[in-house]
């Protein structure tokens, strides 16, 4: 069917066909992603509701299923207020700066053996570079609002994101050391080899087990990196105002979308780097994209779960955890894995 469609489009568009085909693939990634973002907000409210013995949204549509669409329409209808004295251009560009990297990073995510938009050699580096641009949305929003609260909030969350990026980067260095590649597809394939995978217990061969300390560091760092509870210093819905106090309507909604799109992105990265991507956990079931989605959903649930479970960290505790705990742990484990790989007990040949 795909071949038939390809031929049909080739006939219609002729020389610009590759462009049209790529655009089509981009739409095929972005559209489900945005739908996922919308329903992640809904799922979050439901899950936290259940955990707190409430019902959660249930008024709009059957079981409240239309709720995210109603929220979206509400935000679209609202006015975008631009504060007086704000730097208008930057004020309007900042939400896009926050949102665009979360979408651009999907270009190199492999969904299975062959399904990837751009199969580039340095895809892990590309992801790190693109996601590091997202912090601009936050500082620019804080600065351009011409408000002290927004500015301080922006500084706070930007400092937090930069700190945890270091620990995250070091954890990724260990992953690429054992996979011997920067290509995300190859990293997944490297996890399908090993003693356990040969005996049909694939899930014990994935990176999470031999690199357990890095997995824990990465899992906590991504929560801090996306400014989610218990590290939600950026804005704590009812208590702390953050970098987007002055934003309203759709401009605010774009920040909101960016946060959830980033959550889905980092969950996908966790699934690809540590949980074996599309690989099946046991030998008798086939590898498929289905497993990738299951793993992403599991990590996303972890995000919601800890939000309902833990109280908020104090700011100096966040900084201490990032700089004085995670970075030394990463540096030591980096050396340990390096020695391990050089020793006769190397399991990543």
């Amino acid at each position: 069917m795909v071949d038939a469609l390809q031929q049909l489009l080739q006939g219609v568009f002729g020389p610009v066909f590759p462009l049209v085909w790529t655009l089509l693939k981009i739409v095929l990634i972005i559209a489900p992603l945005l739908l996922g973002v919308a329903y992640l907000t809904f799922w979050e409210r439901k899950v936290i509701g259940w955990m707190q013995v409430r019902i959660g949204p249930n008024r709009v549509g059957p079981w409240g299923l239309i709720q995210p669409i109603a929220d979206g329409v509400k935000l679209l209808m609202k006015e975008i207020v631009i504060p007086s004295g704000a730097s208008k251009g930057i004020f309007l560009i900042a939400p896009m700066f926050a949102f665009a990297p979360a979408l651009a990073a999907w270009a190199v995510i492999p969904f299975n053996d062959t399904m990837v938009l751009a199969n580039v050699n340095a895809s892990l580096l590309y992801i790190m570079a693109v996601t590091s641009v997202g912090v601009y949305g936050i500082i620019l929003a804080g600065w351009s609002s011409n408000s002290k609260y927004a500015f301080l909030g922006g500084m706070r969350s930007a400092a937090q994101m930069i700190s945890y990026e270091v620990a995250m980067g070091l954890a990724l260095v260990v992953v690429l050391m054992v996979s011997n590649s920067l290509n995300l597809g190859d990293i997944v394939k490297a996890q399908g080899r090993g003693m356990f995978a040969d005996n049909g217990l694939g899930f014990l061969s994935w990176n999470w087990l031999p690199l357990l300390p890095m997995f824990v560091v990465y899992l906590i760092s991504i929560v801090a990196e996306t400014n989610r509870a218990p590290f939600d210093m950026a804005e704590g819905e009812s208590e702390i105002v953050g970098f987007h106090v002055e934003y309203s309507g759709m401009a605010f909604a774009v920040f909101f979308l960016a946060e959830y799109a980033n959550m889905i992105l980092v969950s996908t990265l966790t699934a690809v780097l540590f949980l074996g991507g599309w690989l099946s956990p046991v030998g008798f079931l086939p590898d498929s994209i289905f497993w990738l989605f299951v793993k992403i959903a599991a990590v996303l649930f972890f995000f919601l779960w800890i939000r309902a479970t833990f109280p908020r960290y104090r700011y100096d505790q966040i900084m201490r955890l990032g700089w004085k705990v995670f970075i030394p742990v990463c540096l030591i484990w980096l050396t340990v894995v390096g020695c391990w790989m050089m020793s006769p007990w190397n399991i990543w040949k």
Binding site: A122, A129, S132, Y136, M155, I162, E165, D316
Partner: protein
């Protein structure tokens, strides 16, 4: 015109424009943002040269980390632009000499191949290896001592920065996490029994 040439001129034009705006923008934050745009365009041009590792590293290090810290500082400065511009003409001759010297030095380095200045040529990368692999192999074989030296210098820089900020540590009210964790309810709160004053 070939498409690749078009892409090159596209990036080059943006880069030159952004670089000019860095020194002409009135607002220092806008100047810093134009510097970011310059870096991104430069990375695009490097990508055309198939130096993808350098291109991505430029975005990762300079755009993602260095310029963010730069913006932090610039945003918190309270700059009076008129005061800054006051001495423009008196500093111009000195500035022009420094600028000319820098242009000459950059020309010599960048045109080194053309003027035949380099004693040993930069080794060519193996055709089959990826960009990252060839850079890594050169860094840890042929250039291992310069790399180690550079990293030691950077480490000294880090330690120096930490020491400079830690000089008057006495003023900060940092708490020791160990003592916080070990605390029990008994240490902070005493429950007293009191007979009630009022009868009935």
């Amino acid at each position: 015109m070939e498409f690749k040439t078009f892409v090159f001129y596209f990036f080059a034009a943006i880069m030159v424009f952004a670089a000019l705006r860095v020194i002409t923008a009135r607002n220092p934050v806008q100047a810093a943002l134009f510097l970011v745009l310059t870096f991104v365009s430069a990375s695009g041009i490097w990508m055309l040269l198939q130096a993808e590792f350098l291109a991505i590293a430029l975005v990762l290090v300079y755009v993602g980390a260095v310029m963010v810290l730069f913006l932090f500082v610039v945003m918190m400065l309270d700059i009076n632009l008129d005061r800054v511009r006051e001495g423009f003409w008196s500093y111009l001759p000195l500035g022009a000499i420094v600028a000319l010297l820098m242009v000459a030095e950059m020309g010599l380095v960048l045109g080194g191949n053309y003027f035949d200045l380099f004693e040993n040529k930069v080794p060519q990368a193996a055709a089959d290896a990826t960009n990252v692999m060839s850079v890594a192999r050169l860094m840890y074989t042929d250039y291992v001592y310069p790399v180690e030296l550079a990293s030691v210098i950077l480490l000294v820089g880090i330690v120096a920065a930490v020491v400079l900020t830690m000089r008057d540590r006495r003023k900060t009210k940092a708490v020791d996490p160990a003592t916080q964790v070990i605390v029990k309810a008994k240490d902070r709160m005493r429950v007293l029994q009191m007979p009630s004053e009022k009868q009935g």
